[in-house]
Amino acid sequence: MTAKHALRFGALGYLALLLLLPVGLVFYRTFEHGFHPAWAAVTNPQAQHALWLTLIIAAIAVPANTLFGVVLAIALVRHRFPGRGLVNAVVDLPLALSPVVVGLALYLLYGTGGWLGGLAGHGIKILFALPGMTLATIFVSLPFVVREVVPVLREIGTDQEQAAETLGAAPFTTFRRITLPAIRWAVGYGVVLTTARAIGEFGAVSIVSGRIEGKTETLPLYVQSQFEGFNTTGAFAACVVLALIALATVLAMRMFRPNDASLAMPFGGRGGSAGTAVLTRFGRRKGYGAESNVVKEEA
C-alpha cells in the first residue's frame, strides 16, 4: 500500500470514527423499532411546534444577518471611518464567545433589573419569548456573511465599480448591477452557513428561552428535553430531522461552491465571483483570469 493510500484510508477512517459512526447510530436507534414510532415522535404537537419555532427564528435571523452582513462588508472594505478596526474585530466576537456567554449577556440586559429590563413592564416581552430567542440567534450567526463577503470584495477591487460610475450609473445601480453579481456566490455561501448555525443553535437560545415546553422550545431544545425525559425515540427522531436539515444545508453549500468545471466557463475563475473565498479556504486557489494576477502599479 502506498503512502497515498495510507493517507486516504487514514483520513476516511478518522472521519468515519468521529462523524459517520455517531450520526449513523442516531439513525439506527431512531428506526430500531420501525418507522412508525419515529414518525409519531416527530409529528406530535410539541415536536411540530419546536420545528416551526426553529424555522421562524431562522427566517428572521438569516435575512437580517444577510442584509447587515453585506452592508457591513461594504462599509469595512470600501470606506474608511473611525473605529473601523474595532468594528472589524467585534464582528468576530460571536465566533470566539461561548454561546452560553451570549445567552447570559442577553439575560442580564433584558432580565429583571437589567438595563432594558423595564421593557417587560411595558408589555414588550423579550426574554422567554420569540424576540429574545431571535436576538440570541442573530448574535451567534452574525459573522458568517460578513466574513464570506469581505475577501471577495477586496479581491474584485474598485475598478468595475468606478467604470460603472463613469458610465453614468448611480451608486445603487452600481451596487445592484455590478457589486452584487460579483459577490453573489459569497453571499450565498454565507447564507448557508448562517442558516446552519441559526437552526442548530442551542446554548444561547437555551438560556434566553426559559425552555417552556410547547412555547419557547426550538428543535435542539426539544431534543434535550426528550432525552432528559427518557423518551429516547423522540430525542433521536428529532435529531434525525436536524441531521436532515444539516444535510440539505451541506448540499446547498456544495451548490454554492462551484466545481472546477464551472470555473472554466462563463463566471469561471473570474476572480472575485464564485468561490474565491471558498477556494482559498480549501487551498485550491486556481483558474484566475490573467488580469487578477497583475499587481497594480499606482494607486
Partner: protein, 318 residues
C-alpha cells in the same frame, strides 16, 4: 470639448500627488500625460474623470466647472489599465451598460452596440464573456464600452500597460486611427515615452506632482526644458554638465582635434539601428546610436578603438 485644469492640488496623507497643476487640453486633441511611476499622472486623470476630488483648484470641461460634480454626471469615457471588464456580463452587455443605465430605447441600444463592436472589430465575439477574450480584445471592448455613451472626453489610464509588446504596438496604431475617425478629446496616461510620442499630438510631462513641460513630441525631444525632460523622453549621455543624445555622437576611425579616444565595449544590433556601448580613457561610459550602414563602414566590433565627438549637445543653466 476642451479640458482645463487650474491649479489643482491633491494630497494622500502626507504624500503630495499633484502640486499646483495647470494644464489646458485643446478640443479634439490626443494628449499624453507622461511621467514615471508615482509622478501623479494617473491621479490627474482621475481628478479629471471625477474619481478623485482635488484638495484645491478647478477642473473645467468646456466652459463648465465640474470640480464638484460626480463622475457619473461628467460625460467622460474612461478606460482602465486592467480593463475593469464587467466579468459577469457578455461583451455585448458590457458595451450596452452605459446606454442601459441611461434608459435608451432597446433598438437604439442594439444599433449603437453593433456599430461599436464593428468599430473595435469584436462583432463575432458579442456573446463571449471577458474571461474568454485575450488582453487586447478586452481592452478594445473596454474602449467600445467607454465610447458607447458618446463621451465628451475619453480618458485612458495606461490602457496598454498590461499587454505584451506586439499587441501594445498594434493597439497604439489602432488608437491613433480611431482618434482620427472619432475626434473625441482624448487623454492617455503612460510611463512609456515611446508610446506617448507615437500616439499623442501633445505631451504633458509630469514629475513629482508637477508639470515639467508641455509640447509636441518633436519639441520635447529637440528642446527639452530641463534635465528631467531631456533624460525622460529618450536615452541620453551625461558628460559632466552637458547632455548628448546617443544619435548625436559621431564616431570615426581617425582622430581630429576635438575628438576623444574610446573603446567599443558592446555592439547591439536592432535591425536598422545599431547601438554601441563605449568607454573613454577616463572611464566615462557613452552610448552611441548608428545606422547599420555607418556601423558596417566602421567595421564596428568589440575592442575597436574609435574617436568620438558630440555633434550636438545641450547644457541646462540652473
Amino acid at each position: 470639448m476642451g479640458i482645463t485644469v487650474v491649479e489643482v492640488t491633491k494630497k494622500f496623507g502626507d504624500f503630495v500627488a499633484l502640486d499646483d497643476v495647470s494644464v489646458a487640453i485643446p478640443e479634439g486633441s490626443l494628449t499624453a500625460l507622461l511621467g514615471p511611476s508615482g509622478s501623479g499622472k494617473s491621479t490627474l486623470l482621475r481628478v479629471i474623470a471625477g474619481l478623485e476630488e482635488p484638495d484645491g483648484g478647478q477642473v473645467l470641461l468646456g466652459d463648465d466647472d465640474v470640480t464638484h460634480q460626480p463622475a457619473r454626471a461628467r460625460g467622460v469615457g474612461m478606460v482602465f489599465q486592467h480593463y475593469a471588464a464587467f466579468k459577469h456580463m457578455t461583451v455585448w452587455e458590457n458595451v450596452a451598460f452605459g446606454l442601459k443605465v441611461r434608459k435608451r430605447p432597446k433598438p437604439e441600444i442594439a444599433n449603437r452596440v453593433h456599430e461599436l463592436l464593428e468599430l473595435v472589430q469584436l462583432e463575432g465575439l458579442a456573446k463571449r464573456y471577458p474571461a474568454q477574450l485575450s488582453g487586447g480584445q478586452r481592452q478594445r471592448m473596454a474602449l467600445a464600452r467607454a465610447l458607447a455613451v458618446d463621451p465628451e472626453v475619453l480618458l485612458l489610464d495606461e490602457p496598454f500597460g498590461a499587454l505584451d509588446a506586439r499587441v501594445r504596438k498594434e493597439l497604439r496604431a489602432w488608437l491613433r486611427r480611431l482618434h482620427d475617425e472619432v475626434h473625441v478629446t482624448t487623454i492617455i496616461v503612460t510611463h512609456d515615452q515611446e508610446e506617448a510620442m507615437e500616439v499623442a499630438g501633445q505631451i504633458v510631462v509630469i514629475n513629482q506632482g508637477r508639470v515639467e513641460q508641455v509640447g509636441t513630441p518633436r519639441e520635447l525631444y529637440d528642446s527639452p526644458a530641463n534635465e528631467f525632460v531631456m533624460s525622460f523622453v529618450g536615452p541620453v549621455n551625461k558628460i559632466g554638465d552637458t547632455f548628448v543624445r546617443p544619435r548625436d555622437i559621431s564616431l570615426s576611425l581617425e582622430p581630429d582635434g576635438e575628438s576623444t579616444e574610446a573603446m567599443v565595449e558592446r555592439v547591439v544590433h536592432l535591425g536598422f539601428e545599431v547601438r554601441a556601448e563605449l568607454v573613454r580613457d577616463d572611464g566615462q561610459h557613452l552610448l552611441a546610436q548608428l545606422t547599420q550602414e555607418e556601423a558596417q563602414a566602421l567595421e564596428l566590433e568589440r575592442g575597436l578603438i574609435v574617436y568620438v565627438k558630440p555633434s550636438r549637445q545641450t547644457v541646462f543653466t540652473r
